[in-house]
Amino acid sequence: MGKTLLQKVWNLHTVRQLPTGQTQLFIGLHLVHEVTSPQAFETLRTRGWRVAFPERTFATVDHIVPTRERRRPFLDVLAEDMIAALERNCREFGVPLWNVGDRHQGIVHVIGPELGLTQPGMTIACGDSHTSTHGAFGAVAFGIGTSQVRDVLATQCVAIEPLKVRRIRVTGRLAPGVYAKDVILEIIRRLGVRGGVGYAYEYAGDTVERMSMDERMTVCNMSIEGGARVGYVNPDETTFAYLEGRPWAPPGEAFRRATAWWASLASDRDAAYDDDVEIRADDLTPVVTWGTNPGQSVRIDEPIPAASDAEALAYMGFEPGAPVRGQRIDVAFIGSCTNARLSDLREAARIIKGHRVAPHVKALVVPGSAGVQAAAEREGLDAVFRSAGFEWRNAGCSMCLGMNPDRLEGRQVCASSSNRNFKGRQGSPTGRTLLMSPAMVAAAALAGVVTDVREVLS
């Protein structure tokens, strides 16, 4: 009987079975940011512990960073305290930090892959649930809480329960205007926001195999929205081509040896899965959420189902049976660890080029990292966005969550390329989020209402 990638990587990183029945799992890469780490570092300080593997630990700032005015000290004294704490912790414990203004600063889940830190076969942990993103490379990557951040800092290990594996085979060609974001929103809609509890999701099938690394990251990123702490894609030539030449990827002859090892970790043909699901992608359309969890979505040409959750409908101000298409928006946000990579910005720019944002819409683009920002500016994408009426910001989590100055106000409706449409998620306790692909956000920004991007493209 063959093994899945999850089983192979898990076995290679198992230190021992703990008396509690959990696995003591070695963590190959620990990514740290300002929000979930200060209490963990404080415990190390109090107990007199060191960071066990500082060379496998990297920090950056993303959640609280203002994306417009970044002068220090920050105007928000709480945010300033947090960044100052991270600076002190990284200095004291010997952890490299990419700070505001550094060329490698950015959202943790954007910079890890971009720098080649994220590699197939690694176990990757970070105090952030969207760590599943890194699974796109064939890593086993998961979010942890602050107590586990403490454990990884002090021991480079976590105590964790084994996961089952569900293979999700996506087959067929995506039509123009339909993107990786639509694929994962459809998966969540079909399997539900709790469907993945206890599972790792292995994304397979020809649709996924044809996807770029950016697209695979978008899919793996939102595994957690489907309840799966881990999502991954088996590594292949696309993965290796992406990594070659990146700053932390193995160089020269070592890269050749690395690819042989990476390839050996892919799930075996005869691997056994705990569950198997197939999703056809050729008839997929753009998908948009209407509710307050990422599973509450419709295909753009469908109405909101009649039997929808009344509480979600009331919060959103929607009527059952109404279309989402045509819904007026106030804000358009292109950003977040789900969709703020160069290819996302290129696709959105292609749609808005030569057009103007609707007068009543506040539109902003927040590159996922300083690297993405620099690359986009070299291509002139910033000028395309600016001349269309978008604000062009510096890298950070921005309006994905209400931890920095970028927030919704009142009951504003936001067309958003981010990952969560929870009540209050974008910083206003009554704000409303419609999740969609960045291309769909671009189309909505121009029209001022939710629009089918396929019509704009045709």
Binding site: L12, G21, A52, Q148, V197, A258, G424
Partner: protein
């Protein structure tokens, strides 16, 4: 939280909180994560939901005096989904919650709660519904959540509970604070690391 201590049972009042898929943004809104400690988070637990309830002239269970001092939180399914913020179980624990009984929990929330000594146990949906209804009618109901017997008991009500064996054993033996256990085997950790090709820079031939 001072630990580890053995947690074999939790006794106290019940607080029923209805709704599936209650996410961590609702438990503790992100703006309160702008802090370098967990202190005071209990003041903001469910803050936006509670404000919305007041606006709608209803009473959120966390504002309902009848449930003041409750130690056992009752929830529906997929409780704690969303972000990995440990601030969510921290806020609940600091508010006074000592155990959570629900239909199901998100994986990350369940683990985070366990790490701070807050056990999450599951019960069948019918049992949860019945207990919620009972607690709403008899708000001063006191229950005993027994981790050893895996049962919830009160004068008028009892039901079976479940919890993964590993998590349960950790609470009962007082081994839920993992760092010490993990620190115990530094040499074995180094040995595992030294066998991983990426740790050694792919300098040796790959071990396929």
């Amino acid at each position: 939280m001072n630990g580890p201590e053995r947690i074999t049972a939790v006794e106290g009042g019940v607080l029923p909180l209805r709704g599936d898929d209650i996410d961590t943004d609702r438990i503790i809104p992100a703006r309160y994560l702008r802090t370098v400690s967990f202190e005071g988070l209990e003041r903001h637990v469910f803050e936006d939901d509670r404000a919305a309830a007041r606006q709608g002239a209803t009473l959120h269970p966390f504002d309902d005096e009848r449930f003041a001092g409750a130690r056992v939180l009752l929830v529906h399914s997929n409780f704690g989904c969303g972000s990995s913020r440990e601030h969510a179980p921290q806020a609940l624990a600091r508010w006074g919650i000592r155990a959570i009984v629900g239909v199901s929990f998100s994986d990350i929330f369940f683990g985070n709660a366990a790490m701070i000594g807050l056990p999450c146990l599951t019960a069948g949906r019918e049992d949860v519904e019945a207990l919620m209804a009972f607690a709403e009618q008899h708000p001063r109901t006191s229950v005993r959540v027994d981790l050893s017997a895996l049962a919830l008991e009160s004068d008028a009500f009892s039901c079976a509970l479940s919890m993964p064996a590993a998590a349960r054993d950790a609470f009962i033996s007082g081994a839920w604070d993992t760092t010490g256990m993990l620190l115990d085997r530094v040499d074995e950790v180094r040995a595992v690391a030294s066998r991983l090709p990426y740790v050694t820079g792919f300098s040796a031939p790959p071990r396929a």
